[in-house]
Every structure is written in C-alpha cells, then in structure tokens.
C-alpha cells in the first residue's frame, strides 16, 4: 500500500522541500517562459517596457516583534521582491485573512504600520480584500501582498546572470530577524535586545544601480537565509560560489544567540538583507554607494563567483578548511543536547 503524501511543516521552510513542492505541484502545471525563470518577481513585457510582478504571503507569529510587525514585513517583502529585479515598485494590493475574535485594535495597529511602510517605500496600496475565518482557523491574521513595478530601461538583473569573477556583497549583518522571532517564541531574554532587520530595500537598490549599473543579480536573503539564497543563484547561473567565513557579517548578540540555540546564522531568515552579485570592475563603487545608505552602511564583500565546482557554495572556514554550504533542509531547530 502506498502511503498518502501530505503537506508537512518541512514544506514551508523555504529550503529544498519548498523548492520541490513548487517544482512538482506548480512548476509542471503552469510552465511558461516567465514562470520558469523562478525569480523573486516575474518580469512581464508590456507595451515596449517591462513590468515586475510579485506576491508574498505572511503568517508570522507573534504578529508584533521588536523592529517590526506582520504588516510592515508584508509591505517590505513585496517591495523588496520587486526591487531585487531592479524594478521601481509602484502599486500594491493586499489580502487579509482575519481570525474571528482578533481585537479590532490589533488590526488597526497593523494597518497603521502598513500605511507608514507604504509611505516610507513610496508606493501606493491600490486595492485589497478581507475575509474572516472562524476562531482557531487562523493565527490572528494572515497578510498577503501583491505588487507591480516598472523596470527602467538598461537594467538586466536575473538569478541566472552571475558570472565567474563577480563579487558577492551582502547588504547588512545577517540573522537578526529570524533570531528576534525565535527568541521571542522561546521566551529567551538577552542583555542586548535583538531587533528584526525588517527594512525596505528599494532605496538602496536605486543608489546601488546608479553607482554600479551592471549589477548581475540581487536576491533578498529572506526565508532559508543567506545560504539558501546563495545556493539558488549558484544553480540558476550554473556557477560556483566561494565565501569566507570571517567576512560574513553577524552581530555579536545574534552570534551568541545562534551558539546558544545551536543554529547556523547562514540559515536564519532576514527581512531586510540582500546579496548583490556585481562585476569586479564595479564592486568598489557598489560597496561605496551601499555604505552611504543608512540601511546598508555595514555592507561588505563576502566572496566571489568561481568557475570551479558549479552549483556549489563553498565556505572557507576561519581555520583555513573548506566545506560545502547546502541549501536549508528540514527545519531550522534549536538543538536539544
């Protein structure tokens, strides 16, 4: 007898199993040249120009956390996905699945925060939908946001564009968002409060592309963390990636929390951190431009694209050893021993 296949929580981590779910259930049924590129946003040819189009659902619990809330990351998430394709985000629509019994005040606070995020990113919310589900059928509220933006002429950013010798730049220290949520859920307290890195990336992207117009790839290191994103772009481009452990930026409180929980910061989710793959001749200009911006003042080079070991990400450890960094598999769990 064949065991019935069921969706498990492991399908939702953003790692390998999420990828398999998308490929097997949706990729095969809807295959077309736009979808098949599997970018952060779809690029649509419209009337001689190009439109970027993307959607992102948010199910974060708790709804409010240090440095953000579900509304803010819902707006930033979609704005960032559009920005990662070099698009200027313009219009968003939002869907709210609300659980019966949610205090009206909570929803107002989320809406306030979204309004502020909309203002901050210079986009407009132009439509939406609300549904209410029975008690215990939802986690307070789920928010999905879809958006469109225009890709200005001359920009050609795609996950498959990475070239050997390209330089990898990460925009900010990694792991803050995921660790904020995880420590909150576990009721852990640290001397220094860790706050989510939730941030809009469209402003940085504009400054970056002005200084380095030939950026090859940009990718939001959200679910699955930096390691998963690097794996995605090394496979999409068919190239190898090498990074240096001691250059990957992790703030000390995050590093300590990860050590305590037995987590690798490379796999922890971010909400306002991205990787730029820049041709070597533009790398210095890119880094300079990013460091001027307050949200990416700690931007740093972490490695480079190489011809050897295609589709593999290799990390040079601080001791001089090398190891492969795979995509996130299974769940990201604190250790028990």
């Amino acid at each position: 007898m064949r065991k019935e296949e069921l969706i498990t929580m492991a399908h939702g981590t953003g790692g390998r199993m999420t990828q398999q779910l998308i490929d097997k259930v949706f990729g095969t049924r809807f295959s077309n040249p736009i979808l098949d590129r599997m970018n952060d946003a779809a690029i649509l040819p419209v009337g001689g120009g190009r439109l970027a189009f993307s959607i992102d659902g948010h199910v974060v619990s708790p709804l409010f956390f240090p440095g953000g809330d579900i509304g803010k990351i819902a707006i930033f998430g979609t704005v960032n996905d559009l920005a990662m394709m070099g698009a200027r985000p313009l219009w968003l629509v939002a869907s709210f699945i609300i659980e019966e019994g949610l205090p009206m005040e909570t929803l107002r606070k989320i809406a306030d925060s979204m309004a502020e995020a909309v203002k901050q990113t210079g986009v407009q919310l132009v439509g939406g939908d609300t549904k209410v589900v029975e008690k215990e059928k939802g986690d307070g509220v789920y928010v999905s946001v879809a958006g469109v933006g225009i890709v200005p002429e001359g920009r050609n950013i795609d996950a498959s564009n990475a070239q050997p010798r390209d330089v990898l730049i990460v925009s900010a220290p990694i792991g803050n968002h995921g660790i904020t949520i995880m420590t909150l859920r576990e009721g852990l307290k640290f001397d220094v409060e860790i706050t989510s890195d939730a941030a809009p990336l469209n402003g940085i992207v504009e400054d970056l592309l002005k200084a380095a117009p030939h950026v090859h790839v940009m990718r939001d290191a959200s679910r699955g963390g930096l390691a998963t994103v690097l794996n995605e772009l090394s496979s999409a481009s068919g190239v190898g990636i090498e990074i240096d452990e001691d250059t990957v930026p992790v703030e000390e409180p995050v590093e300590r929390a990860c050590a305590l929980l037995g987590l690798d910061p490379l796999y922890v989710a971010n909400e306002g951190v991205f990787v730029a793959v820049v041709p070597p001749e533009e790398a210095d200009a890119a880094l300079q431009a990013m460091r001027v911006h307050p949200l990416s003042k700690k931007a740093v080079k972490i490695g480079e694209v190489v011809e050897s070991h295609p589709e593999r990400v290799v990390l040079r450890t601080a001791l001089g050893a090398q190891r492969i960094v795979g995509p996130l598999s299974g769940d990201l769990l604190p250790r028990i021993c």
Binding site: K3, E4, L6, I7, T8, M9, A10, R16, M17, Q20, R185, E186, G187, E245, D246, V248, P249, V250, E251, E252, E255, R256, A259, G262, D264, P265, H309, V314, T317, A318, L319, G320, A321, Q322, R323, I324, G326, S329, G330, D331, L333, P334, R335, I336, C337
Partner: protein, 364 residues
C-alpha cells in the same frame, strides 16, 4: 562572522594544530561521544586540518538517534490516542517510524506540537485541562533534569493531565557498550561537554580505571576541540590514561549537584533499548513509582506495534563508530535530510546529517 571569544581564535587554533602534528608520531583514533561535537568538527573543518594519522570518529551521543525504532513507533502511536496533545522537541518530528513520522502523523490529524522547553508542555496542560498533554522525553543527562523539574512543577500545580513518556538515557553505559563490543579500536574519548556539565567529569573515571582509556571533556568551539585532541595525543604518547577537562569554564569534577538531585528524585535506573547497541542494563531513566501519576506508560496502554528498522539503514553501525556515514549505501542517495531513512540523517546531532551538510570529502 565574528569570533566571540578566545575559544574561536583562528591563530590559537592553528598553533594547536601544529602542536598536534608535532606530538603525534603514531596512528591514533579518538571517538567524540557527542553528536554536537561531530557537527562542530565538521563545521570547522577540523578533520581536514589534523594530521592523517590522528583520526576522529563519531559516537553514539545523539539522543534522537539512539532511540529505538520501537520507542519511535510507540511515540507515534501515542500521538494517535484520542484527546492526546503530544509535545516534543523538534528533532523527533521527522524521524522515520516503521510507517510514519510524527510530522506525517501530525499532518494526518494527530495534535503534535513542538516545544522548546518541557515547561511549555506544562503550560499547555494548564491551558488545556480537557486534554492529556504528553511530553516525549528524549535525551541524556543534559535534558533529563529539566524534564524531571517539569514533573515536579506539574505535581506542585496539582495537574492531572500532564504525562512524560520517558526515553531518557544515561551516557556512560553506551560508552561501556561500545568498548565491550570491541568492534572499533580507540585510543581516547572526547568527553561530552554538555552532559559532563551535569554529571561532572568524575562520571567518566571508569574509562581510565577499567579500560585504561584516556578521556578529555571538551567544549564546542574550535579551540576547545583542538585543545582536547592535543591533550588526548599527549596522554597517548606518554602512555597515560586519565580524565582531563578541557572545558573548565563549564564542567566541574562533581558536576551540577542540584540538577543531579532533581534527576534522581524523579527517575530511577532501568534497562533501556538503544538503536545500534541493543538493550543495555541500567542505562535508561524510568519514572519512579512515586511519580507514576505523570508516567505516560502507566496512564496509557501504548500498543506494541510491530517495529522494523528502515531496510538498508546502517545508523546502528554509525552510532557504534563501525562505519562512517558515507560507507552506508543509502547515504546521500536515497537518504538525505529531505528524505531521511534513519534518525542519524534527521537529528542536528546525527553523524549522517553532519557529513551530508558539510560534505567536505566531496571537495576532494
């Protein structure tokens, strides 16, 4: 990444590597008991950096991995009892039982929730007085005191709906089992730092006394582990065998006496079935009769389902140090972290998972 303190200092680490290479003039093999060490060793790339004749091999120190197939199946069966709310540490969710994993049982209707502390399970029992909240107690001396404390807390609160399914185990009998088995040649043991924080380094004295086996208790940073290896090499080269402590900032000879007292108040020794090692006498922690009101095995008649270890899975041999994970024909082919066949590929402390994640040998 920043290096939080001297225990990760690359300069110090390289100095230790050079010292080890200078001191060790004959082949020697050390077993790291703890799966946390296996992961750290792979993550830092330590195996590549040691001289070829200083071999490290992984041991049985992964609580989820050594849980017997029957216990896994019984835990899953327990989740299917009407009214049961099963709570567990996350590692157990994806361990393949004979038919299902807990994660699949959860998707099929069982109420299984991941908790980060057994106290969360006690809280759930308070909030859901109409449900039987069961905590799956998997672990060594590290986690057992916390779980014992949860039973004491439930007793104080007068809870009638909190139960623990105790699959806890004592670590020294496993080490004894491996040495008595005589399948692997060992020159020293890297002692488990977290376990020894509770038990004290004295708990490992039987190794030099009865087996003339050097032990050095180790921390989990690169410098800790390299210092441990250097200390072991030194004992081997001078013919000594003693318990030494390279994790002095956490481990004391007598251990954490308060935690030991709580553990002994709630648990008593019983025989236990280990994956890979079979039944080891007095190696399990059973709930004492005084606390039987909180014992899931007393409260529920857990059926003895016919259990079968996954066909082809060689986790047992991996746990005994007889083979390295890549020697298992399933490794990396049929058995991966997404499609694990055995627990050693699931747990964050499992050797197969460490070898798969860090695949250093694939770089050649």
């Amino acid at each position: 990444m920043r290096f939080v303190d001297e225990f990760e200092n690359p300069v110090l680490a390289r100095k230790l590597i050079a010292e080890i290479a200078g001191m060790a003039t004959k082949p020697m093999s050390f077993m790291e008991f703890c799966g946390g060490h296996t992961h750290a060793i792979m993550q830092f790339g330590i195996r590549q950096l040691l001289p070829e004749y200083v071999r490290l091999m992984s041991g049985p120190g992964c609580p989820v991995c050594v849980t017997s197939q029957k216990d896994i199946d019984r835990a899953i069966a327990l989740s299917q009892f009407p009214g049961v709310l099963l709570t567990t540490f996350g590692d157990m969710m994806r361990v393949p039982g004979t038919t299902y994993t807990l994660q699949e049982a959860s998707a099929a209707g069982s109420d299984v929730r991941i908790v980060y502390s057994p106290m969360d399970a006690v809280r759930l029992a308070q909030e859901h007085s109409d449900r039987d909240v069961v905590f799956l107690g998997v672990g060594f001396e590290t986690t057992a005191p916390g779980i014992a404390a949860s039973i004491l807390q439930a007793a104080r609160l007068g809870l009638k709906n909190y139960f623990v399914f105790s699959m806890h185990k004592y670590t020294p009998p496993a080490m004894r089992g491996i040495l008595d088995g005589g399948e692997v040649h060992l020159d020293g043991i890297i002692g488990p730092g977290h376990v020894a924080t509770i038990t004290g380094s004295n708990a490992w004295k039987f190794l030099p006394l009865e087996y003339h086996m050097p032990v050095v208790v180790s921390g989990f940073e690169s410098v800790d582990i390299l210092l441990t290896v250097r200390m072991l090499v030194e004992q081997v080269m001078t013919g000594k065998a003693e318990v030494a402590n390279a994790y002095g900032r956490s481990v004391f000879p007598e251990g954490n006496v308060v935690a030991q007292r709580i553990m002994d108040q709630v648990f008593q020794m019983a025989d236990a079935d280990w994956r890979g090692l079979g039944v080891l006498p007095m190696s399990g922690m059973a709930i004492r009769p005084e606390y039987s009101a909180f014992d899931a095995e007393v409260r529920f008649e857990i059926p003895d389902v016919p259990s079968r270890e996954p066909p082809g899975c060689r986790c047992g041999e991996v746990l005994r140090g007889v083979i390295e994970p890549p020697e298992c024909p399933l490794f990396g082919k049929i058995c991966t972290p997404d499609t694990p066949r055995g627990p050693c590929m699931v747990s964050d402390e499992g050797a197969c998972s460490a070898y798969y994640l860090y695949q250093t040998e694939a770089l050649g």
